[in-house]
Amino acid sequence: MNVSDVVFVISAYGVILGAIAIYAFTLIRRLRRAQQAADELEETPNPAP
């Protein structure tokens, strides 16, 4: 087994799975914030015409 070859395999799997996981966590956070903003808007009374 070539050690440098294993480094490439670990780099590929680590970076890609890590990037997808980070993107997933970012999405969850953005969704939570957007949901909060939507709830705030819903609670805010409409201004008089």
């Binding site: 087994m1 070859d5 799975l17 993107y23 957007a34 805010t44």
Partner: protein, 238 residues
């Protein structure tokens, strides 16, 4: 609840497929350990294609019907597609260095057209940030989403049309799909990774779609009520 189950299933499936690809399937006789990267590379590429095709279809849907759901689907496809295209390129580079002897070759049509594909959809996402007006933004993005899709078949057929370092299509010949030349363990690892990525991809698409819908609704509510102070909280254009 359903997306939570899907998310947990995706994590378990990706972990299982990764363990199978790294520790169960033997290394390839010719390529050695780096061949294991192919399971990730091919799966990423397939879902990148699928994401961008969905963006193109949703873009047409938007231009025809002006349905906010179409714009949300198109945005989800583009953003998730960019993640999977970048993954495809990274996996290809990590495989290319030990097997081809180089990370990258601008003379290779598949590599170059894939880099162009990534640039096009990053451009798509950037164009969405040029305006906060939802209808104008969705229309501009839809036009770009359709034009960018022209590169999808170019990427796919580039290995047939031109000569380069990259091998031919993995499943280009229908006969190879039914009778793959690779050992069954290799095929099983690829199918497992494709299955696992399909769950992860679906989860990401659903979440991004939901986020886009919330952003659109928030922008709409802000505009109608004139509550500009809350516009920042809704993160328009993201």
């Amino acid at each position: 609840m359903a997306t939570r189950v899907l998310g947990i299933g995706a994590v378990v499936a990706v972990a299982g497929a990764t363990a199978f690809s790294l520790f169960v399937v033997p290394a390839d006789l010719n390529q050695g350990e780096p061949q294991r990267i192919m399971y990730l590379h091919v799966a990423s590429a397939w879902f990148a294609y699928l994401s961008f095709v969905i963006t193109a279809v949703a873009s047409i849907w938007w231009l025809v019907r002006r349905d906010p759901r179409a714009d949300a689907v198109a945005l989800a496809g583009a953003e998730v597609g960019v993640v999977f295209t970048a993954s495809t390129i990274w996996a290809g580079m990590m495989w290319g260095r030990p097997v081809w002897g180089t990370f990258w070759d601008w003379g290779d049509p598949r590599l170059t057209t894939t880099a162009v594909l990534l640039a096009l959809y990053i451009g798509y996402l950037l164009i969405r940030r040029l305006t906060d007006e939802p209808v104008r933004r969705a229309t501009r993005a839809a036009v770009v989403g359709i034009i960018a899709a022209i590169d999808i078949p170019v990427v796919h057929f580039s290995v047939i049309w031109w000569r380069g370092l990259h091998q031919g299509p993995t499943f280009g010949d229908p006969e190879h799909v039914l009778n793959p030349a690779a050992p069954s363990q290799f095929v099983a690892a690829l199918l497992l990774m494709l299955g696992a990525f399909s769950l992860a991809w679906l989860w990401l698409m659903l979440k991004r779609y939901r986020l886009a819908r919330l952003e659109w609704d928030a922008e709409d509510a802000v505009r109608r009520s004139g509550l500009t102070g809350l516009a920042a909280a809704s993160e328009p254009g993201s």
